[in-house]
């Protein structure tokens, strides 16, 4: 059984038909990338999985359980965490308060302390700035904070929306290294990216979205060789 199974979801913004039957499966332990241009429906797919949007038809199964009966705030306890688009850190909360919010649903003090140590080991920069207000961090540090905050819920599935957005190339490399590291420690990852090059490099499998539909799906290696993908998303003629 797949960890996440998205079955033919149709999501609307008012009358705008944003997702026209998206089906995605993510197996345990995988990194799966959704790539595509602006307005392809990548973020909408993630927001539907995370419960912020409700699909008009179709369903999302997580570990075999239909998620439609839950609201967004129930999903963290189920094991789904999200690194939102544009990082979405709480700008007026301190770094450590932001991380604390990631573990909001948990009451196991020892476990939380353990995970906090793990996050600080992964991102030493965050430990240095733990009392600083998150709004004063640089873009890269905010991305680390958003990732660390998601890790604080000890998720089995991590949804990541455009982690490379607006970051310098060096930082993008570092962020993707960390994504691989988190995955190796046992967290399954569903990644949405415009940076198809990086996304396909770390992923096991990928899906290509265009105007609300999946036009291609294959292993990441095959997608990197695909002429359509090369032309449209990798900039190779």
């Amino acid at each position: 059984m797949a960890l996440l199974e998205v079955n033919d979801i149709h999501t609307y913004y008012g009358n705008i038909h944003a997702l026209k039957g998206i089906s995605v499966t993510v197996e345990e332990g995988e990194i799966v990338s959704l790539i595509g241009g602006n307005g392809a429906g990548k973020t909408t797919t993630l927001r539907t999985i995370s419960g912020l949007l409700q699909p008009r038809s179709g369903n999302v199964l997580f570990a075999g359980e239909d998620l439609s009966k839950y609201r967004a705030h129930h999903l963290v306890a189920k094991g789904i965490a999200m690194v939102p688009e544009g990082r979405g850190v709480f700008a007026r909360l301190s770094v450590s308060e932001n991380l604390g919010m990631g573990a909001y649903h948990r009451n196991d003090k020892d476990g939380i302390a353990e995970d906090l140590e793990r996050v600080y080991k992964l991102f030493p920069r965050l430990e240095e700035r733990q009392n600083q207000v998150a709004g004063t961090l640089s873009g890269g540090e905010q991305q680390m904070l958003a990732m660390g905050r998601a890790m604080m819920s000890r998720p089995s599935l991590l949804l990541m929306d455009e982690p490379s957005m607006g970051l310098a190339p060096v930082l993008v490399e570092a962020i993707f290294d960390t994504i691989e590291e988190i995955n190796k420690e046992g967290t399954t990852i569903l990644l949405v990216e415009q940076n198809a090059h990086m996304a396909l490099q770390v992923a096991h499998r990928g899906y290509v979205l265009q105007t609300g539909e999946i036009i291609l799906s294959n292993s990441a290696q095959e997608l990197q060789k695909d002429p359509t993908v090369q032309k449209a998303y990798l900039g190779i003629e």
Binding site: L52, R71, A72, H73, V76, L93, M101, H105, R149, S153
Partner: protein, 356 residues
């Protein structure tokens, strides 16, 4: 030349003249009072008394102002029914607890236990009324345009006023006097009326408690997270609806305490008692910077002191006969001035920079 004449910004010019006129009036009144000996002669002791009275009144404003600021912080909505949360708890606790306890003599024998009982009942009723109002009148409209909940809030305000007028009658109901709070303490040759001192101490304790709750506890941090971004807060597993209810409840509990303190000072309550303090506290919240918790506290004290010292200081010197009647004029003139010249309040952020 003609071109240049057109460039004069008439609104800007008017605002500058307005500002200058206010300063002239204040300075002239103050000079006339202090150096030309217009009006009553006050000693230093009198001035200290005005200050203490102002701080004590201001502490009540501060407690009510917190309710406005907390709700504004999470919903960007001015909850105009907040004054009624203040009234509901106070009236109920006065009629069902304070008066019976006073009549049986219990309140004078065990003033601390008695007062605690009154406070608890006032808080419980205020919180219940707030939760009910939020659930029935505000939550269904959360995604409506911002004007809609504002109108509902005004409707809810009238609803509760006349609901309580119907329940308990529209006359003034006396709030019992506590024997232990009669008289004054003398500290360094200055008289402190016991009631005022107790009101001020109680308010400051509540303010500090609230600040710790918001800044140091997990629930308080969740309230701040929801205030910043409801979607992201939900992704963290925070139940946004529940957190908003807690925010309303916290503000209403403060209002319940403020109402009893108000009763101790003014010794009478009625169904309309929430209106003026509510508007004044809203002024205080805007004055301090709406959405900011320290701002609400500072705004409250500032307004209280200004109201107490303003009339004798600026107005008596101008030869205005009933200058104390004009303290409300001072309060609302300040509101207008703040909105014109410093819309973000004393320590608040600019409203325009906050996302609505």
């Amino acid at each position: 030349m003609a071109q240049r004449f057109k460039d004069i910004d008439y609104i800007g010019l008017f605002l500058w003249l307005f500002r200058a006129a206010i300063i002239v009036i204040v300075v002239w009144g103050t000079v006339a009072k202090l150096f030309l000996g217009q009006g009553n002669a006050y000693t230093t002791k009198d001035w200290i008394n005005f200050l203490v009275a102002g701080l004590s009144q201001g502490s009540i404003f501060a407690l009510i102002a917190l309710g406005y600021t907390l709700v504004y912080g999470v919903l960007f909505m001015i909850n105009f029914a907040h004054g009624e949360f203040f009234m509901a708890g106070t009236m109920t606790a006065t009629i069902f607890v304070a008066l019976p306890l006073s009549a049986s003599g219990f309140l004078d024998k065990h003033p601390v236990i008695g007062m605690l009982a009154i406070l608890v009942v006032a808080m419980v009723v205020s919180v219940s009324v707030a939760l009910l109002t939020e659930r029935v009148a505000y939550r269904p409209l959360r995604r409506a345009p911002r004007l809609v909940p504002l109108i509902t809030a005004i409707g809810a305000s009238f609803f509760w006023q006349y609901f309580f007028a119907g329940l308990f009658g529209s006359g003034l109901i006396p709030f019992p006097e506590l024997a232990v709070l009669r008289g004054a303490w003398m500290i360094g040759g200055v008289e402190f009326l016991k009631t005022r001192a107790v009101v001020m101490i109680a308010s400051v304790i509540m303010l500090i408690g609230l600040y710790i709750f918001i800044m140091r506890t997990k629930t308080g941090t969740a309230i701040r997270a929801v205030a910043e971004d409801k979607d992201i807060a939900a992704l963290m597993g925070i139940d946004v609806d529940r957190t908003i209810s807690i925010t309303f409840a916290t503000g209403a509990a403060m209002a319940g305490v403020a109402g009893i303190l108000y009763g101790l000072v003014f010794r009478q309550v009625n169904f309309i008692m929430g209106f003026v303090p509510g508007i004044k506290a809203f002024t205080a919240a805007v004055l301090g910077g709406i959405g900011s918790i320290p701002g609400a506290a500072i705004g409250g004290f500032f307004l209280g002191v200004f109201e107490a010292i303003g009339p004798p200081l600026f107005l008596e010197g101008l030869g205005i006969p009933g200058s104390h009647q004009l303290k409300d004029v001072i309060a609302f003139t300040m509101l207008v001035l703040v909105l014109i010249f410093r819309p973000q309040g004393i320590i608040g952020e600019r409203l325009a920079e906050k996302k609505a």
